[in-house]
Symmetry: C2
Subunit: 254 residues, 2 copies
DNA sequence: TTACACGTTTCCGCTGCGTAAAGGTCAACC
DNA sequence: GGTTGACCTTTACGCAGCGGAAACGTGTAA
């Protein structure tokens, strides 16, 4: 079986541009070029492409994929381990970034105490003109807090604690909801408390609260199977009940 | 106080190229241009740059930073929340990537059973021609495994379990080490067992084992304060003891 | 005057393609 | 034989955030 760019592309789920690019950088050359200059691929190329796409899915760069697939005696496991290290490093950086963003949001929303605010100012400065940024950053990240400036660490931990509080809040809502569902009445005191908690939870995620949007979201919990699955995880019918409670809750707001 | 590009750059820790680029994209314009065409910055620009760099450290794009800093009534908290969502999405993708890479390494190293290997073949195929990749990927990732193909989930879980075993291995080494340190003898049976566990732990991370490299690393545990801090976390002197045990261990290998 | 340490603009390069533009080729249909 | 439309080709710009180099002007101290 022989394939032109479009056929191979359709088979493997990549664009023709991608195939031409892979040819250009020498990653996947066609089996031959026909008299009209068309690229013609064979079965061997199909297999090679599968392999290439597999590594691509793992986030390996095309340059490295080339090394891996071009020489059969290349140690691909070693390459993957090296690749994993890079990914882990990226993960650590990303985690740190998220913590910093969380801390900044909390600070900006005024949920910090004054003394924490002061620390935050220091943290901000530190973040910007961190002159020892490069020196051993990977190792410090990897092997922990020992070397991290103490006040910064406190701040970050605080932001984490706040985040945990948020998850606790969601948990509490679930608990209340489970109780409320026993009464069968979404307008009951307890169900309305759950709806209020849901609003509080939302406020941390949303840029600004709006009751119509809240109501719409509640409806989506029922309409979208994936959301329903999430809320019905503990008990079936929870999503519907929560929606009703929220609709009542939002309607009651003037 | 007035600054030229290089002075401001030195002050804030950025290159002159960066400052020129920020001028070019309209992110930070100099206060004025002098008669020779030099960019001249004032105190106001210093503050603005600090702010810009702060957001840059949080991983915000220059385009968004421009919006945030240019209009004072812009809702920066909302922007940061949006930014956080992007980061969280990236984090989920990265986590999945790492799991897949781990699974691949385990498979390639032959640590999988045959039946798991078969699953892995399916996993590989799935990974490459995942046609429903786009549909609701975020929500699926976010709200869990309900929709994830069962056999794949088993595979990933297995790879995670294997990874946990690795951490258990390190923990075991620490326990042994604590015991061994009581004897005070790094050549004792128990200390040598700890060194052996350390080697096993290493083998998962290293592309290939080599006793000289092992010995060198052990020495570094003592020389580099950050490593020392990690190993001495539970008990001071652990790093030195571990080094001695490893030096004896590697020396004994023919 | 000469050296050299600054400043300037302009442009290429990095990754992995997407998206034109401008043009040949192949099969089918009139 | 002409036309249409679905293919194919190459060339090249764009994306983010600069790094680095080339080619040239300026300020100042020896």
């Amino acid at each position: 079986m022989e394939y032109t760019v479009q056929k191979l592309g359709a088979l493997a789920g990549v664009s023709t541009r991608t195939l031409r690019y892979y040819d250009e950088i020498g990653l996947l050359k066609p089996a031959r070029i026909n008299s009209s200059g068309y690229r013609i691929y064979g079965e061997k190329e199909v297999d090679a492409l599968q392999q290439i796409l597999f590594y691509r899915e793992l986030g390996v760069s095309l340059e490295e994929i080339k090394e891996i697939v071009s020489s059969p005696d290349f140690d691909s496991v070693a390459a993957l381990k090296e690749h994993r290290e890079k990914l882990l490093e990226k993960q650590r950086q990303l985690d740190q970034l998220i913590k910093n963003v969380n801390a900044t949001i909390l600070s900006a929303e005024g949920r910090m105490t004054m003394s924490d605010q002061e620390k935050f100012e220091g943290f901000k400065k530190k973040l910007v003109d961190d002159n020892e940024k490069k020196y051993g950053a990977e190792i410090r990240e990897k092997y922990g807090d020992a070397a991290i400036d103490e006040s910064n660490r406190k701040l970050i931990n605080m932001s984490e604690k706040n985040y945990e509080q948020l998850q606790a809040l969601e948990q509490k809502m679930f608990t209340l909801l489970a109780e409320a569902i026993e009464t069968g009445d979404p307008s009951s005191e307890i169900a309305q408390q759950a709806a209020d908690l849901h609003k509080k939870w939302l406020c941390f995620h949303w840029k600004e609260y709006n009751k119509d949007a809240h109501a719409n979201l509640a409806q989506m919990y029922v309409d979208d199977k994936r959301f329903t699955a999430y809320y019905d995880k503990q008990k079936k019918g929870t999503a519907v009940f929560l929606r009703d409670a929220i609709l009542i809750y939002t309607a009651k707001q003037q």
